[in-house]
């Protein structure tokens, strides 16, 4: 069952902040966040493992609430280069090959 992402789309001005949410109805091993620009492959941003940890990388950070089966991606002081579609991919303990199941994506547009 695929995770649900919200919002579907967000438009920001450079320097503004955004939060993208990802929730699942199933227990999760991990949540993986990717950014994809048009016509390109998804680029890995970060992985959140069960345990409620928060990770950060430059001005992008994320949290994972295992009990609520939710993850949020925080983009702070957005830059033009942040534009793209953000996907969360979830991994659940029931699948033998540890596939990633992706949400529908959140389209982020950062304008000058």
């Amino acid at each position: 069952q695929q995770p649900v992402q919200s919002p579907q789309a967000v438009i920001l001005r450079e320097g503004e902040d955004a939060v993208i949410n990802c929730s699942s109805s199933k227990a999760l091993y991990s949540v993986h966040w990717y950014r994809q620009k048009h016509g390109e492959a998804p680029v890995f941003l970060m992985i959140l493992l069960k345990g409620g940890e928060q990770k950060g990388h430059d001005k992008i950070s994320a949290s994972f609430n295992e009990k609520k089966q939710q993850s949020s991606l925080y983009l702070t002081a957005s830059q033009l280069s942040y534009s793209g579609t953000y996907f969360c991919g979830t991994e659940d303990p029931e699948t033998s090959g540890s596939r990633l199941t992706f949400g529908e994506g959140t389209q982020l547009t950062v304008n000058p």
Binding site: Y29, S30, E40, A41, G89, S96, G97, R99, L100, F102
Partner: protein
């Protein structure tokens, strides 16, 4: 930095023809995946592969699809008789460990079936 590579970058084929998409995963990785993305839609899992056999496949991965690791470096996806609805971007991914590890995606092969 090591990366996943895929060839060709674009493939145009006639309906009913066979296509083989090729991938070279990162060299010390053990788990390999194919995903596809229809234009404007989300990335969908097709198949995972470990120790020379399929670990898991989705409902999309029917008898028309097959995967192979013919040598120590290549990982291929074959579509036996392509249909119009197979037109999509196909991504190969690899990871070192089975779970809770990063999956690295290749640049993709854009397949167009006419």
């Amino acid at each position: 930095e090591p990366e996943v590579t895929q060839t060709p970058s674009h493939q145009v084929t006639q309906m009913g023809q066979e296509v083989i998409l090729r991938c070279v995963p990162i060299s010390n990785h053990l788990y390999f995946y194919w995903y596809r993305q229809i234009l404007g839609q989300k990335v969908e899992f097709l198949v995972s592969f470990y120790n020379n056999e399929i670990s898991e496949k989705s409902e999309i991965f029917d008898d028309q699809f097959s995967v192979e690791r013919p040598d120590g470096s290549n990982f291929t996806l074959k579509i036996r008789s392509t249909k119009l609805e197979d037109s999509a971007m196909y991504f190969c991914a690899s990871r070192w460990g089975q779970s809770q590890e990063t999956q690295y995606f290749g640049p993709g092969t854009r397949l167009l079936v006419l």
